[in-house]
Symmetry: C2
Subunit: 426 residues, 2 copies
C-alpha cells in the first residue's frame, strides 16, 4: 500500500493558455476522483483561480462534485477555465503559497504549465520539505512552444501546429492567387517547432527530399526558426531568389528569431515592447516584427525608379494557441497527462512531472511508406528538476539548411496534428 | 426559345479571394455544362488565369472536360484556383479585353468578384454593344466585406464571419484567462459586417437585449464599425469603463474605421502604406493600426508612477478570407450563384448580376424563439449597374450605439455561419 496522505488537492493552470489545457485540468480531476478521492484520501478537489495567485487568496472553484457532463464540456473549451497567471513566485511568494496550502489543508498540488510552472512546483516542494510540511507536487506539461525537456512533444503544441499548418495552407493559396511576398510571423520565443509546423502546409513536396526553395511548387518556401541565427542580408537574398523566379514568395518566420549574437530581432525592432514578470520582452500581441521585415524587403527590392513589390505581413497572434478546432490526438493526450499525474500521486510519489513518450512512429501517414507503425504514445514520470526552467530546442536533424525544415521534422509532426484538409490546384 | 449565341465561354475570378470563390467557379462550369455546353451553344469553357490579365494574354485553363470529381475538390479548396487580379481595366485595357474575346470567339463572359468586378462587367458589356460585338456579361457576387447592393449577403462573407466569430470566441476566453486589454483588428474597408460578426462570439448575452459593455459577462464588449465615426477619446473612455470594472477588456475594431471627417484612422497611422490600382491604401497585411491603438491605450491608461496595463493587439489578416473551414451555407450558396449566372445566360439574358434573397429568417436558431422560420435563400437577376462600383453599408438597425451591434444583426448573421463550437465556463 503506497504512502498516501489525507487532505485536499489543489489544481492550477499557469502561463499562456492552449486549446487543450482544460483537458489536462479535467484529467487531473478524473484521476483524483477514481483514485485518491474514491479512497477517501482527498476530500475536496479545489481549482485555483489564476494559479498560485488565487491559491494565496483562497480563491477556489470547488471541482469535487462537478457533474461529469460539465467536466466534459469544460475539457472541450479552449483556454484556461480556471484562469491563468504569469506570476513567477519568488521565495516570499512561495512562503505565502505554502501558508495557503497549510491553511486549506492542501496536501496534493497539481500545476499545469510550461517550464516555469514546473520550476514553481519544484521550489514549492523543496520549501515544503524544508519546513516539514508534506505537500506532494506534480507538474502537468503544457506549452504550444513544445519546448519542454524529456517530452516527445507537449500538450498544446499539436493543436497550435494544426492551426499554423491550416493557416499557412490557406494563405499560400491566397499568395498564389494574388502574387507578392507574404510573411507570416509564428509564435515561439526560443524553440522553432511551431514555426516549423508551417511546412505541413506543403502538399506536393512533402514526400520528396526537400527541394531548393526557388524550385518548390509548394509553400511556404522559406521557414526561419530561432535555432538558426537570422541574418537580414541572407533573408533578403533568400526572398529575392524565390521572388525573382516565381513572382511570389511565401515565408514563415518565428517571432523568436535572433541574430548571430543571440539578440532577438523582434525585441530590437519593437520599440514599445513590454516585459513580463519573467523578464521576457513581449513578442506576441504586436505586428511590429512582421511589419519591420516587410518594410525592409519593400525598400531593398524596389527597382531603381520602379514600383515596390507587393509585400504583406501577418502575425498569427493569440488565436494560434486557442483556436477551437484542436487536434484530436492533442485532446486525448492532454487528458491522459492529467490523469497520469493523479495516478502518480495515487502510487505514493512525492513529486514529479509527466512526459509523453512516442512508441509508434506514425510514419504510416507518409504516402508510399510501407514500413510505418501506427502512432502510439505512453506516459512516464520524470523528475521536476529535469524539466524545470529548461528549454528544449529543435534538434539539428529537424532543420534543413538555414531556411527550411527536414523531412524528419514533417514525419515527427504530421501524426500529431490530426487530419488536414485537402486541396486541388488548377 | 431564347436568343442564344454560339461561341466559347470565359470565366474569371477577381479581387481578394475567399474560402468559397471556387464554389462559384465550379457552379458556373456546372451550369454551362448542363445548359449551353449541352445544347451545343458553348464549345469551350475557358478559365482566365488571373482574371482579365490572363484573358488579354490568352492564358487559359480549359475547364470544358475537367472531371467532376476534380471540380468538386477545386470547389472545396479555398482561394481563387484560377488566380485573381486587382487590375481595374481602363478604356484602353477594356479594348484589349474585347479584342481577346473576339480573337478567342468568347461570347459569354463570367466574372466572379465584388463591386469593382461588377463594374468591369458593365464596362466591357457596354463597349461590346457599342462595337457591335454580341458579348454576354455576367457578374457572380463575391466579397468577404458583404458590401454589395441588392444582396441579403454575399458569398464569402459567411465563411469569413465564421472565422471572426470563432477567433473572437477563443480569444475572449484567452482574455479572461490572462486578463488585460485585447484589441482584434478585423477586415472590412468600408462596411462593418465582418467586424460586427465578432458579436457572434458572445454566448451569454446573445438572447438578451444588449447590455452596457461594462455589464456584459461576454465578449467582445466593444465593437467598432466604420459606419460610426471613430473618436480616439471616446474609445479611451469606453475601454477605461470596461477595464476599470472588470480588469480586462475585449475589443473588435474594423480596419476601416474613420474619424468624423471621414478620414481613415488606419491610413493616418500607417506611414509606409501602399495603394492598389483602385487608389485604396493597404490596410490588410500590416499590424500598424492595432499596434497604434494599443500604444495609445498603454500611454493613456498608465497610472501616474504606476505600471502600464497589459495591452495586446492582433490583426486577423488574410486567414480571415481563406480559412479552410468554410460555412456550409456559404459553400452551397456560392455554388448556386455560379449555377444561376449560367442559367441567366441559358435563358437568353444579355447581362446581369446575381443577388441572394433571404426567404426564411433563420431565427429558429434563437434560443426560446418559437416563431422562427427555417433559413432559406433564393437567387434573382439584378442589373449590373445596380451593383457596379457601389458600396452597401451596415444599416442603422444593425448598430447599437457607437460601440456595439444590435440583436437584429446577430439574428441576421447567425444562420449564415454554420454551427459554432460551444463552450463552458467555470
Amino acid at each position: 500500500m503506497p504512502d498516501l496522505l489525507r487532505g485536499n488537492a489543489a489544481i492550477g493552470q499557469s502561463g499562456g493558455p492552449t486549446a487543450v489545457i482544460n483537458q489536462s485540468l479535467v484529467g487531473v480531476v478524473e484521476g483524483l476522483r477514481s483514485g485518491l478521492h474514491a479512497s477517501g484520501h482527498v476530500e475536496r478537489i479545489l481549482g485555483m483561480r489564476h494559479g498560485v495567485k488565487g491559491l494565496t487568496k483562497g480563491d477556489f472553484a470547488d471541482l469535487t462534485d462537478t457533474h461529469q457532463d460539465r467536466l466534459d464540456r469544460i475539457a472541450a473549451t479552449p483556454s484556461a477555465a480556471l484562469g491563468s497567471t504569469r506570476d513567477k513566485p519568488d521565495p516570499a511568494y512561495c512562503e505565502r503559497v505554502l501558508g495557503a496550502c497549510k491553511k486549506h489543508d492542501i496536501r496534493y498540488f497539481f500545476y499545469i504549465g510550461g517550464n516555469d510552472s514546473s520550476d514553481t512546483c519544484r521550489i514549492i516542494r523543496e520549501m515544503a520539505v524544508a519546513s516539514g510540511f508534506d505537500l506532494r507536487c506534480f507538474h502537468v506539461p503544457k506549452t504550444v512552444d513544445n519546448d519542454l525537456m524529456e517530452n516527445d512533444h507537449t500538450p498544446g503544441f499539436p493543436s497550435a501546429a494544426r492551426f499554423v499548418a491550416m493557416a499557412c495552407m490557406a494563405d499560400f493559396l491566397d499568395n498564389i492567387s494574388l502574387p507578392g511576398i507574404k510573411i507570416n510571423v509564428v509564435m515561439g520565443r526560443h524553440a522553432g517547432f511551431l514555426t516549423a509546423a508551417s511546412a505541413l502546409a506543403r502538399r506536393h513536396d512533402r514526400d520528396l527530399n526537400p527541394v531548393a526553395p526557388e524550385e518548390s511548387t509548394d509553400g511556404p518556401q522559406l521557414v526561419y526558426c530561432p535555432e538558426v541565427p537570422f541574418d537580414l542580408e541572407q533573408f533578403l537574398a533568400d526572398v529575392d531568389a524565390v521572388y525573382s523566379k516565381k513572382g511570389r514568395c511565401h515565408v514563415a518566420v518565428s517571432e523568436g528569431i535572433v541574430d548571430k549574437m543571440g539578440m532577438s530581432i523582434g525585441a530590437q525592432l519593437i520599440k514599445s515592447g513590454q516585459t513580463d514578470a519573467h523578464g521576457n520582452v513581449q513578442l506576441s500581441g504586436s505586428g511590429a516584427l512582421g511589419d519591420a521585415l516587410a518594410d525592409f524587403l519593400k525598400t531593398k527590392l524596389t527597382p531603381a525608379g520602379g514600383k515596390p513589390p507587393r509585400v504583406r505581413a501577418d502575425t498569427f497572434g493569440y488565436v494560434q494557441r486557442c483556436w477551437p478546432d484542436p487536434s484530436p490526438t492533442d485532446q486525448r493526450e492532454a487528458r491522459r497527462c492529467g490523469q497520469f499525474a493523479a495516478q502518480l500521486a495515487m502510487a505514493g510519489h512525492q513529486d514529479g512531472s509527466v512526459a509523453i513518450v512516442r512508441q509508434g512512429s506514425g510514419s504510416e501517414l507518409w504516402l508510399g511508406k510501407d514500413n510505418g507503425q501506427p502512432y502510439l504514445s505512453t506516459y512516464r514520470r520524470v523528475e521536476l528538476r529535469e524539466v524545470a526552467a529548461k528549454t528544449r530546442h529543435m534538434p539539428a536533424s529537424f532543420l534543413q539548411g538555414h531556411n527550411n525544415v527536414s523531412r524528419a521534422f514533417v514525419e515527427y509532426c504530421l501524426p500529431l496534428v490530426g487530419g488536414l484538409p485537402g486541396f486541388e490546384r488548377l
